[in-house]
């Protein structure tokens, strides 16, 4: 498979290299930091691209449209160099992928959070839609992020929404309709195989068979659906595909004094569950709808004073039968043995037993869970030109309120289900499980998030001959609250950036912020975060000015200090608290007595994580066609919160507080190579390949003294799995007898054999070895090609990862916890198949030897996915001009069309756990602009 990936990459690169010389209008590229005079979003401002000395990459909103998904973060997968998006849950309205910029730089789990700023303010962003977004920019190095001070170290994402331009009214309408299909559903055995294998498992455990030959025959023939059922619950509960749609309408334009952008969007994605609400009105259809609106207005109040009004919002409705998410329903479907009970019993009641409820019954009879979410993003910015003081000076101030509120309504009911048996007379006897209750409502749950911020800026921007100076001083304060009785999180930040360019050849920049946050003790809560950077545009030097081979060449470098105040651990660590604990029940009644216990001692020196970032980059263009960008970086983070109490005797009776003693580093590189074909008539195309590699290492984490050197976590990457190393199956009893003792449960031939790492002849937790790689991939790469032929256009986008290990979880364990068995268990070990078996011998009981975390269940998590493919056709210009249209285009689009990976069976490497399946989306759409 890996070979296949390599082959695919090389084919694409070759085809890019061969170069079909063709033609056309403007270059079609998602290009990032080009040599062109385009301006780039940077921290609290913009800069002409040539002047940028930090590491940034960006993508236009239109590119994000190509991945059809309800969550904006998911559409960014692979589109931004340096940004890794981990998919996580795939259920519409529940999915919330995790974002990493240049991998992981800290080992605190909470502290990898990336700061996301929407139009200059921290905000939730996953609800936004590509059509309202002008660009998304990722800020990566110290020069780019230093202004965000102690919130910058994990990288920053800037999302900029569209604004109006002076000119005629432009209307754009888009409609896209399609459907989602699961990439794969867990493959479980059917009833006959289940019974057959279960008998074998019982035999392995030295127990008599449960199913007679007559039973097996009945399962095989399927002629006794009540006493010998064979149920595939996925067929009962899921539909083949679920529709998804998006409608979009926006207006933009403006006069000299007032410019506007207004957008409306409606996106809807129905869940994979059958329409339970249509069958039983106490249940609900599974759905997710969101309506976005935006109105960004810029008004020149007079010649020098401009007001920028930003207002965007969303309303979200989500509903599911039986629970807020469908996770437990999918878990149930994967767990029930196929012969446990029929969907309906002969008298029409639901089947069920003592262990398992009926998934269809749950959907139809357990009520429904609906939620309604609202977001508002609003800000007002005033900019006053102060040219009357000195030319190029301006001042501006902004206030913003961003918030999110979600309220939930949970209606629950219970229902009856029955199992059947025959008594001595041959009559069918019903045993009831569960009790019918009427619908109960609970509307007490809600979530919220809100952020208030205030900013002020003094800007200076002036050119004196060959000297160009840009300077900025700023102030920011913000406060955000999360639901619950948390105290708000607050920051105060002052900063400056001074850029000087000489003759457009030499650029120097100094950035610094001085930031404080509420989580640290008074007197030591502010820190300074300086960064310096420089750029040299070599191609503007005389010796290269007339080169036709190297048309642009810039070398840039940056060095600086950033921080991360999301250090994990408890907040306000500088105070020791006495929290409430579970208390005893003195007296003879069921009455608790309040108790207060000593909390973790204070750490009066608690501080934020600090990171030194070094970045060196080169941007080049060769001739008119080739473009190349590369960056190497190294991040050194220190003051990571770690638990140092591994040296303190336990008889202290109290733990040391966490201390800022951890250290780690992270280094890697990013590169992009693109080719744009010659602008001649006919085919015009571009191809672009990019890659990001980041590898981190824990340098010091204050871990406990270990007796075996391989047990140390430091020296590995964050998330390095530790587990037993499987070295095959026990061949026979002699093999068992002469092997080290595995303490988990007595073993027999066909059980997984583990390696005795420390040679003590016992296999136990001390033999947990670093096995496999962390889940987060080290390498992310993309291949993007885009071609236009006459009025057809084609866009293909591949994304792949490498250097990640994934694990088959408990749902791949046969018969454990009275569960079903996966199809892969067919290939189990038996004395006859000992040579070819890929699954341990079966056991009917819970087997702690085989079914535990070990390298046996690990798989290579690398994949190459066709993330999106879009084929479009635009109406001829003549037709369009008749209809007064600028654009009329129809297209078909596919998202997540296929994956090349190493994992057997139809398993998606991004979603291995049982739950809502990964989705493949097919859609068609129409876009009109006039």
């Amino acid at each position: 498979m890996n070979q296949m990936i390599i082959r695919t990459i090389s084919t694409l690169l070759l085809s890019a290299g061969c170069g079909v010389y063709a033609a056309a209008q403007s270059p079609v590229t998602d290009s990032t930091t080009t040599a062109k005079a385009a301006s780039v979003n940077i921290a609290y401002g913009t800069q002409p691209a040539w002047m940028v000395t930090g590491a940034v990459s960006s993508v236009k909103g239109t590119e994000l449209r190509k991945s059809f998904n309800t969550n904006l973060a998911n559409t960014m997968t692979g589109r931004l160099r340096g940004l890794t998006v981990l998919q996580g849950n795939t259920e519409p309205g529940v999915n919330s992928p995790s974002l990493y910029i240049r991998g992981v730089n800290t080992f605190g789990s909470e502290s990898t959070k990336v700061l996301v700023m929407v139009d200059g303010f921290e905000s939730n962003f996953e609800q936004l839609v590509p059509d309202e977004i002008a660009s998304v920019t990722v800020l990566k190095d110290a020069a780019a992020t230093a202004l965000y001070g102690s919130r910058a170290a994990n990288g920053v994402i800037l999302i900029t929404t569209k604004r109006g331009q002076e000119g005629q009214l432009q209307v754009s309408f888009g409609a896209q309709y399609g459907f989602n299909k699961p990439v794969a559903l867990p493959k479980m055995v059917n009833a006959y195989d289940y019974a057959r294998l279960y008998n074998e498992a019982l035999q392995n455990d030295g127990k008599p068979a449960l199913y007679t030959d007559a039973d097996l025959a009945a399962y095989q023939q399927g002629n006794d659906p009540y006493f010998h059922p064979d149920v595939n619950w996925y067929k009962q509960v899921l539909r083949n595909s679920a529709p998804m749609s998006n409608y979009h309408l926006n207006f933009s334009g403006g006069k000299k004094a007032v410019r506007y952008f207004a957008a409306l969007n409606a996106i809807s994605s129905q869940g994979m569950l059958i329409k339970a609400g249509d069958i039983n009105e106490e249940s609900s259809n599974s759905k997710f709808n969101r309506y976005n609106f935006r109105s960004n207005v810029d008004i020149d109040l007079n010649k020098t004073l401009t007001a920028f009004i930003t207002l965007g919002g969303t309303v979200e409705d989500k509903a599911n039968p039986a629970g807020n998410t469908t996770g437990s329903l999918f878990g149930l479907m994967a767990a029930i043995p196929p012969n446990a009970f029929p969907v309906y019993q002969p008298n029409g009641s639901f089947g069920g037993n003592a262990l398992y409820a009926n998934p269809l019954g749950n959907m139809l009879q357990n009520g429904s869970y609906t939620s309604n979410g609202r977001t508002i993003q609003s800000s007002l910015r005033l900019t006053q030109q102060l040219d009357f003081i000195t030319k190029g000076l301006s001042v501006s101030a902004a206030i913003a309120a961003n918030n999110y509120f979600n309220s939930y309504s949970n209606k629950t009911a219970q229902y009856e289900r029955f199992s059947i048996s025959r008594n001595n007379n041959g009559d069918t006897v019903y045993t009831r499980f569960g009790q019918k209750t009427s619908l109960q409502g609970d509307e007490s749950r809600s979530d919220q998030w809100r952020n208030y911020a205030l900013q002020g800026f003094l800007n200076y921007n002036r050119t004196f001959g060959i000297h160009e100076i840009t300077a900025m001083a700023m102030y920011n304060q913000d406060s955000y609250s999360i639901s619950g009785n948390n105290l708000p999180y607050k920051h105060v930040n002052g900063g400056t950036r001074i850029t000087y360019a000489n003759n457009r050849k030499y650029i120097g920049e100094f950035t610094m912020s001085y930031m404080g946050s509420e989580n640290f003790p008074k007197g030591s809560r502010f820190g300074a975060f300086p960064a310096v950077s420089a750029g040299w545009i070599v191609s503007n030097e005389n010796f290269l000015q007339h080169s036709r081979a190297i048309t642009f060449l810039k070398i840039r470098g940056s060095y600086g200090l950033t921080g991360n105040d999301l250090i994990g651990g408890q907040r306000f660590m500088f105070d020791q608290l006495y929290p409430f604990i579970n208390s005893p029940y003195f007296g003879t009644a069921n009455t608790g007595t309040g108790g207060l216990a000593e909390g973790v001692p204070a750490n009066p020196d608690v501080t934020w994580e600090k990171e030194q970032k070094i970045n060196v980059g080169v941007e080049a263009a060769f001739g008119e066609r080739w473009r190349f960008t590369a960056d190497v970086f190294k991040n050194d983070r220190r003051h990571i919160l770690a638990r140092p109490y591994y040296t303190l005797p336990q008889y202290m009776g109290v733990d040391l507080p966490m201390l800022n003693v951890g250290k780690m580093n992270n280094k890697g590189l990013e590169a992009l190579l693109s080719y744009t074909s010659k602008p001649t008539a006919g085919i015009q195309w571009m191809a672009e390949a990019s890659a990001t590699y980041a590898k981190n290492k824990v340098v010091y984490n204050a871990e406990a003294v270990q007796q075996n050197a391989y047990l140390y976590y430091s020296g590995h990457s964050v998330g390095q799995p530790f587990g037993l190393e499987a070295i095959g199956f026990f061949k026979d009893q002699a093999d068992v007898d002469k092997s080290p003792k595995q303490i988990f449960t007595p073993v027999q031939p066909g059980d997984i054999k583990y390696k005795d790492q420390n040679g003590d002849n016992v296999i136990d937790q001390n033999d947990a070895f670093p096995i496999g790689k962390p889940y987060l991939p080290t390498l992310t790469y993309t291949l993007h090609t885009n071609a236009r032929f006459r009025r057809f256009d084609l866009d293909i986008f591949f994304q792949g990862v490498n250097g990640s290990t994934v694990t088959l979880g408990s749902n791949y364990y046969a018969f454990q916890n009275n569960g079903s068995a996966p199809s892969m268990a067919e290939n189990r070990w038996t004395p006859a198949t000992a040579g070819t078996a890929t699954y341990p011998r079966l056991s009917s009981q819970n087997n702690l030897n085989n079914y535990r975390y070990s390298s046996f269940w690990q798989r290579n998590g690398s994949y190459l996915k066709l993330r999106s493919l879009e084929l479009g056709y635009s109406l001829p210009a003549s037709l369009m001009s008749k209809a007064k249209m600028n654009l009329a285009r129809v297209f078909v689009n596919g998202t997540n069309l296929f994956s090349i990976d190493d994992i057997e069976g139809d398993i998606d490497p991004e979603s291995l756990s049982v739950g809502y399946p990964a989705m493949r989306t097919f859609s068609a759409g129409l876009r009109i602009e006039f």
């Binding site: 109040l301 007079n302 004073l305 003592a354 005033l382 001042v395 501006s396 101030a397 206030i399 205030l454 002020g456 102030y475 304060q477 105290l487 607050k490 404080g516 946050s517 509420e518 008074k522 306000f572 105070d575 020791q576 608290l577 006495y578 604990i581 579970n582 208390s583 005893p584 029940y585 003195f586 007296g587 003879t588 069921n590 009455t591 608790g592 007595t593 309040g594 108790g595 207060l596 216990a597 000593e598 040296t647 303190l648 005797p649 336990q650 008889y651 202290m652 009776g653 109290v654 406990a704 003294v705 007796q707 303490i743 007595p746 016992v762 136990d764 001390n766 009981q845 819970n846 702690l848």
Partner: protein, 566 residues
């Protein structure tokens, strides 16, 4: 126009001045409590007393202390003795029964309270250090609370003594900044420390409390702990010149280093002190409910008169909650997770009602119910046997084809069913144990004197069993007392420790060798049941298991001498 401009500049500047509020980043005042708050009033002090009990008083159920410790152990210790066998293999008892214990995971295999105990000891030390500062506290109450703290500290030391032998003695609160290198104290020092705390506590504690303070320690509890500590100290594991395994110059960490018969005398005297206290503490054996029910009444009734100290960390728990769910058989209606089966090894120990041993046919027989009817009445009050009553949901308990023949019923009240939650209240000390401690120690100190007979017979009589035959030798009397202890205190977290202090765990049939169950089958056209003894498991025990290993990561810190063999 100029006006607008000026207004705007003022607005902008205004926002700055408004925003630069000085305390913007300060933590808002909250409801946070500090140590000074606790010792500022008698009311606040009660919260810390509650905390001392919650941390410091253990129970023998599986863990439910997730709010206090991350370590877990879902077993009761009986599963790792000849009393029982869990019905599911994933419970950790199996690690003991197959001698697969390791130092790296002892806190999840048995001693989940290892870390918690040190926290409790710290609380006790802080309590003693600062209680004098509480304004308005009555002097007598202050002395009582200090005594309670001493008891809790002693209890936790005893719990460590029986597991590890000598451990570091910590009798004050340490600061994080102190130089910390205390190594293990000897057995003798630890026993003396415990006994001393108990003696002082007994002097200051009241004999009894109003019912609203049930669960707080009385004078009787302190005396009982002293009796128990001295009994363990006098027993063969510690009271010897040569330890169970050599530890070189550190032998005194795991034994006294000599044998002294007087230790039994001290143990006997301490047990006698409990019996002497009992009337003043309104404490007595339950003997007025009828000989067939006294015993079950005692273990199934919370706060009864026989209890000297019970753990009060639970409120009501439903059958599906911990601890009930883990202990309940998985064969009843609304089954539990596994349940503890009773071994035939235990069932064989029940005498017949006439005081002679029961004869079980090794090849099986067709008279199971008849055999059952002949047994000591405590059998039917302890064991769930075929056709016995479990609760209203399972009025007829089935043992055929689903188990090793018997299940533990004791500890799980019959009143517990899906509609009726019950309060799990673990009895740490009850008066019956004091009688048995007394009889055992007295026999060792003075031989089978009348007072020793009287003590055992008191326990037997209240369950309808005849007196022990007169004229037993010291050895025979010891055997009978040991057997009486096995029967009377079955499943109460005694056996696991008794077989260690008696140093008999490695004997065949105790924790080593064949373990027996009964295969049961119906007999056509008969109401009787066929039984057949069979070996369900072969167990092993290694001498190093007489004392627990210290958790490996604690040993790795370099201040602890690990016990031998680990």
């Amino acid at each position: 126009m100029k006006k607008i401009r000026i207004v705007c500049i003022f607005v902008i500047l205004g926002t700055f001045t408004f925003s630069c509020k000085k305390n913007f980043l300060d933590k808002a005042p909250g409801v946070d409590v500090t140590e000074n708050t606790i010792f500022s009033s008698p009311t606040q002090l009660e919260t810390y007393i509650a905390s001392m009990y919650r941390h410091g008083i253990h129970h023998g159920f599986c863990t439910d202390d997730k709010s206090l410790t991350e370590s877990i152990s879902l077993d009761i210790s009986a599963g790792a003795t000849d009393e029982g066998e869990y019905a599911v293999a994933w419970l950790t008892s199996q690690y003991w029964n197959s001698a697969s214990i390791t130092a790296s995971d002892i806190v999840n295999l048995e001693d989940y309270r290892f870390y918690l105990r040190w926290t409790a000891i710290r609380i006790c030390n802080i309590m003693m250090e600062r209680i004098g500062e509480v304004p308005g506290l009555q002097e007598s109450y202050r002395e009582q609370v200090i005594a309670e703290a001493k008891f809790v500290r002693a209890l936790n030391y005893f719990e460590m003594l029986k597991r590890y032998g000598g451990v570091p003695i910590v009798n004050k609160r340490f600061q994080l900044s102190e130089e910390l290198k205390i190594s293990r104290n000897t057995i003798e020092e630890c026993v003396n420390f415990i006994v001393n705390d108990c003696t002082e506590a007994a002097g200051a504690l009241p004999p009894t409390y109003p019912s609203t303070m049930r669960g707080r320690v009385t004078k009787g509890a302190a005396l009982m702990l002293k009796s128990k500590a001295l009994l363990y100290a006098a027993s063969p594991l510690f009271n010897t010149a040569t330890p169970y395994m050599p530890l070189g110059e550190n032998n005194k960490l795991i034994c006294y280093g000599n044998y002294d018969a007087n230790r039994w005398k001290l143990a006997a005297d301490a047990a006698k002190a409990v019996l002497d206290w009992a009337p003043s503490g309104n404490c007595k054996l339950i003997d007025d409910k009828g000989v067939d029910v006294n015993y079950k009444y005692e273990w199934s009734t919370n706060d009864n008169e026989e209890i000297i100290l019970a753990n009060k960390s639970f409120g009501t728990r439903y059958p599906w909650d911990i601890p009930w769910a883990v202990m309940k058989p998985n064969t009843i209606a609304n089954p539990g997770w596994g349940g503890l089966q009773a071994t035939f090894n235990l069932v064989r120990k029940y005498e017949k009602k006439d005081g002679t041993p029961q004869t079980w046919n090794a090849n099986g027989g067709n008279d199971l119910f008849k055999k059952y009817d002949e047994l000591d009445p405590r059998f039917k009050q302890t064991i769930a046997y075929h056709n016995s009553y479990w609760n209203v949901e399972t009025p007829v308990f089935n043992c055929i084809g689903n188990s090793i023949g018997h299940w533990m019923h004791k500890l799980i009240p019959s009143d517990l069913h899906n509609g009726a939650a019950q309060i799990p209240s673990w009895q740490l000390f009850r008066l019956a144990e004091a009688y048995l401690n007394y009889a055992e120690a007295l026999n060792e100190a003075e031989g089978p004197v009348d007072a020793a007979y009287d003590a055992v017979n008191k326990i037997r009589r209240r369950s309808g069993m005849p007196d022990l035959p007169k004229g037993l030798s010291k050895d025979d009397f010891r055997k009978r007392v040991h057997n009486e202890r096995d029967i009377e205190l079955a499943f109460e977290d005694h056996r696991f420790w008794d077989i260690r202090r008696w140093k008999i765990a490695e004997e065949d049939g105790v924790m080593k060798g064949n373990f027996w169950g009964l295969k049961l089958a119906t007999i056509p056209a008969s109401s009787e049941i066929h039984y057949e003894p069979y070996i369900f498991e072969v167990r092993s025990f290694l001498p190093k298991m007489y004392l627990h290993p210290f958790i490996l990561w604690e040993v790795n810190k370099g201040y602890l001498v690990q016990n031998p063999g680990w």
